[in-house]
C-alpha cells in the first residue's frame, strides 16, 4: 500500500485489488474471532497474490490454516465449520480447482440450511478467482460464474475494483449465506483508491452505474467492465452515449437498476468474459427482452477451451473494438 490522503473524514489510500482484499480479510478477522481461512499455501506464500501475507503471524495457525491439497475437504470442512458456528473462508486458489469441490459447494453448502428446515446456516465464503491472466491456458483461466447463479442457496459476487473488492468481501464475510466470491486474476495488480476510514460494506446485490449514458446500456462485471468502459469511451468519440453498469453481484443481480437503465436507453448489450453460450448474459438479456421487449445482444467468450498461445488467447477475448462495433450495429 502506498500514498495515503486525508480528505475530510476519509483516509484514502491507493492500493491494489489484491491489497484491498487483504485489508478486508484482516479487518474482518480482527472484528470477529470466528472468521478464519483455510487453503493451500496461505501461511508463507500468503495465498494467491499474497492476500494473506502476514496474517498467519497475526492470527495464528488455527485461523489461517495451511491445508494439504485436498479441495473436497477444504470446501467440505468449511461447510462443517459454518454449520458448527464459525465463519470460514475456503480458499480454492482458482475457480478451475474449485471444480474438484463442486459437490461440497452445491450439494452441501448451498442446500444444508434448506434441507434441514432452517436449523443451521452456512455462513461461509468460497473464494475462487476467475478469468484469463495470460498464458495459463484451459485449466487455469475459466469463468464459471454462471453455474453458481443457477444454484439456489448461493450468492455470487464478482468484484471489479480495489474499493469494491474490499467492500464486497467484507459484506460476503458478514453474510449468513454461502457466498461464491470470484475475484478476477487479471485484476490483482489493478490500483485504485480505497477509503480505509470507512468500514462500510459494499452492499450485496447492488449494481453500480460506472458511466452514465443515454443511447445504449452495457451490463458487465468483473474485468470485462474495464473493457466496456474503453468501448464506451471509443463510442463517445462518435457521439454515442453509452451507459455502463457494473453488476458487482451476479446473484442476486440488480434487476431494478438494469431495467431502469435499459428502459431509458432502449437497448441492452451484455458483455462477459465467460463463454457466451450458457453464460449469465443469457439470463439478463432474456429478462430484459421479456420485460421490456427492447433489442438485446450479448457478447461473451467463444465456446472453446481457453488456449495458451498469445494469438489464440487473444482470439478468445472480447476486446473494446468488438464491443464498440456490436454497439454500433445495435444503433444503426
Amino acid at each position: 500500500m502506498s500514498v495515503r490522503l486525508m480528505l475530510g473524514g476519509c483516509a484514502m489510500s491507493e492500493m491494489t485489488y489484491a491489497e484491498a482484499a487483504r485489508l478486508a480479510l484482516r479487518e474482518e478477522m480482527q472484528r470477529d474471532p470466528l472468521v478464519w481461512a483455510l487453503g493451500e499455501d496461505l501461511g508463507y506464500e500468503g495465498g494467491m497474490a499474497g492476500q494473506y501475507k502476514g496474517l498467519q503471524a497475526e492470527f495464528g495457525e488455527d485461523r489461517i490454516v495451511d491445508t494439504p491439497i485436498s479441495e473436497s475437504t477444504i470446501m467440505g470442512a468449511a461447510v462443517g465449520a459454518a454449520l458448527a458456528g464459525t465463519r470460514p473462508i475456503a480458499e480454492m486458489r482458482f475457480s478451475d480447482f474449485a471444480m474438484c469441490a463442486v459437490d461440497e459447494l452445491v450439494n452441501q453448502a448451498a442446500k444444508a440450511r434448506y434441507m434441514f428446515g432452517g436449523q443451521g446456516r452456512v455462513p461461509m465464503v468460497a473464494r475462487m478467482p476467475i478469468g484469463i491472466r495470460g498464458g495459463i491456458a484451459a485449466q487455469h483461466s475459466q469463468s464459471p460464474e454462471a453455474w453458481y447463479t443457477h444454484v439456489p442457496g448461493l450468492v455470487v459476487v464478482t468484484p471489479s475494483t480495489p474499493a469494491n473488492n474490499r467492500g464486497l468481501l467484507k459484506a460476503s464475510i458478514r453474510c449468513d449465506d454461502p457466498v461464491v466470491y470470484m475475484e478476477h486474476k487479471g485484476l490483482w495488480g489493478l490500483k485504485g483508491e480505497v477509503d480505509e476510514s470507512d468500514d462500510a460494506e459494499t452492499a450485496l446485490g447492488v449494481a453500480q452505474t460506472v458511466r452514465p449514458g443515454d443511447n445504449l446500456t452495457i451490463v458487465s462485471w468483473s474485468a470485462q467492465v474495464g473493457v466496456a468502459l474503453e468501448a464506451a469511451a471509443q463510442l463517445a468519440g462518435d457521439g454515442i452515449s453509452v451507459e455502463v453498469i457494473d453488476l458487482r453481484t451476479l446473484w442476486p443481480w440488480d434487476r431494478d437498476m438494469v431495467m431502469a437503465s435499459a428502459a431509458r436507453t432502449g437497448k441492452l448489450l451484455v458483455v462477459h468474459e465467460a463463454v457466451r453460450v450458457g453464460g449469465f448474459g443469457g439470463e439478463i438479456a432474456a429478462e430484459v427482452a421479456e420485460e421490456l421487449g427492447i433489442p438485446v445482444a450479448r457478447l461473451g467468450g467463444e465456446r472453446i477451451p481457453i488456449p495458451f498461445s498469445v494469438p489464440l488467447e487473444e482470439a478468445y477475448k472480447i476486446k473494446a473494438d468488438r464491443i464498440a462495433s456490436r454497439a454500433r450495429r445495435m444503433l444503426a
Binding site: P33, L34, W36, L38, D62, R63, V65, T67, P68, S70, S72, T73, M75, G76, A77, A78, V79, G80, A81, A82, L83, A84, G85, T86, P88, D103, E104, N107, Q108, A112, R113, Y114, M115, F116, G117, G118, Q119, G120, P152, G153, L154, V155, C175, D176, D177, P178, L204, G205, W251, P252, D254, R255, D256
Partner: protein, 334 residues
C-alpha cells in the same frame, strides 16, 4: 447419556429401549413406505442398532454427529425425537425439517445431530470442519461421523482421514461395515485389509469390533471417546454388522441367499441385549411391556404423521438464503 462404563441393568435397559425405538421406527417407516405414506428412499437401520446406540450413549448433546443416507438410527440414538422424524418421513408440518428434507436429510441441531446426508462420504469432510470449529470456539466436544463400508472408497473420506490427523482433531470415525453397499459386496471393491488398515496408515488408531454386540460397542466407545476428548486426535472404530433388510425399503435384496440372512439373524443385536437383560433380572413381562410401550409410541407417531397437516406451500420458498431469496427484488417466474 453418560460416560459411565458400568453395565447396570437400568443403563442397559435404557440402551435397549433406544434400540427398540429404532427398530420399531424402521419397521414403521418400511410399512408406511409400502402403504404409500412415505415417498422416496427409506434406508432402514434394522440389524445395526447396537452401533448407533452404543456409540451415542457415550456422547453429550454438545457433541456433533454427522451421518449418511442410513441416518434414522443415528438420529434417534443422538436424541432426535422419533415423532418429529416420522412427521418428516411423511413430509408433514412439524417434521424435523418441516417436510423439506425427508428421510435422507433428517437433522436435529438441538442435540448436535448435524444431518443425514444423501451424498456418500460428504459427512466426513463436514465432520473435520465441525471439529475445527469446536477448537476455534474453545469447546471440548467431539464429532462423530458414521460412514458405510462402501463409502470408505470415496476420496473425500480418505482426505478427511488425513486432515483429521494432521490437525489432531477430535473426530471419531465409525465405519459401519455391513459388508455391502447397495447390491455390491464391498470386499470385492475394497483393496487391502480394509478400513482399519487404511486408518492405521494415516497413523489413526483403529479398532475392529463386533458391532452387533452392544456391550463391546459401548465399552469401546467409552474408551475411545474419552481418549479423543482428552486430546488423542482422531480414531476409527470399524463395527462389523449386517444389514438385515434390503438397501432400501423397496429393495428385495435378491443378490444374497436366504441362508446368509438366516445366519446373520442369529447374530442380530437386539436378541443379545435381551438375553443379557433376562440374565440380569429383567422379567419376560417387563421386556414385552417395554416392547409394547415402544411400539405403541411409534404407532402413535405414525398416527400423528397421518393426521398432521401438509406444510403450507409457501414454506417451499423459505430458508433458502437471506440475500437473493426467492421472489425478492421483483424476481418472478410466471
Amino acid at each position: 447419556m453418560s460416560d459411565s462404563l458400568t453395565n447396570e441393568p437400568a443403563r442397559v435397559a435404557a440402551m435397549y429401549r433406544t434400540m427398540l425405538v429404532i427398530r420399531a421406527f424402521e419397521e414403521a417407516a418400511g410399512e408406511n413406505f409400502f402403504a404409500g405414506n412415505v415417498r422416496g428412499s427409506v434406508h432402514q437401520y434394522i440389524g445395526e442398532e447396537a452401533i448407533a446406540v452404543g456409540i451415542c450413549e457415550n456422547l453429550r448433546d454438545e457433541d456433533y454427529l454427522t451421518s449418511n443416507h442410513r441416518g434414522h438410527g443415528h438420529s434417534i440414538a443422538k436424541g432426535a425425537h422419533p415423532r418429529a422424524m416420522m412427521l418428516e418421513l411423511f413430509g408433514k408440518a412439524g417434521g424435523t425439517s418441516n417436510g423439506k428434507g425427508g428421510s435422507m436429510h433428517i437433522a436435529d441441531f438441538s442435540v448436535g445431530m448435524l444431518g443425514a446426508n444423501g451424498v456418500i462420504a460428504d459427512g466426513c469432510t463436514i465432520s473435520v470442519g465441525a471439529a475445527q470449529a469446536l477448537r476455534l470456539r474453545g469447546r471440548d466436544s467431539i464429532v462423530v461421523n458414521f460412514i458405510g463400508d462402501g463409502g470408505i472408497n470415496r476420496g473425500p473420506f480418505m482426505e478427511a482421514l488425513n486432515w483429521a490427523k494432521i490437525y489432531n482433531l477430535p473426530v471419531l470415525f465409525v465405519c459401519e461395515n455391513n459388508q455391502i453397499a447397495a447390491s455390491t459386496t464391498t470386499r470385492l471393491v475394497t483393496a487391502g485389509e480394509g478400513i482399519a488398515a487404511r486408518a492405521l496408515s494415516f497413523d489413526i488408531p483403529a479398532v475392529t469390533i463386533d458391532g452387533n454386540d452392544l456391550f463391546e460397542v459401548d465399552r469401546t466407545a467409552a474408551r475411545v471417546v474419552s481418549e479423543i476428548r482428552g486430546g488423542s486426535g482422531p480414531q476409527l472404530i470399524q463395527a462389523m454388522t449386517y444389514r438385515l433388510r434390503g438397501h432400501f425399503a423397496h429393495d428385495p435384496a435378491g443378490y444374497r441367499n436366504p441362508a446368509e440372512v438366516d445366519a446373520a439373524m442369529q447374530l442380530e443385536p437386539m436378541g443379545r441385549v435381551e438375553a443379557w437383560l433376562r440374565d440380569n433380572g429383567m422379567s419376560d413381562d417387563d421386556i414385552s411391556e417395554l416392547q409394547k410401550e415402544v411400539k405403541a409410541a411409534i404407532d402413535s407417531y405414525v398416527e400423528d404423521a397421518i393426521n398432521a397437516p401438509w406444510p403450507d406451500a409457501s414454506l417451499a420458498f423459505t430458508d433458502v438464503q437471506d440475500v437473493g431469496a426467492p421472489h425478492a427484488g421483483g424476481l418472478r417466474n410466471e
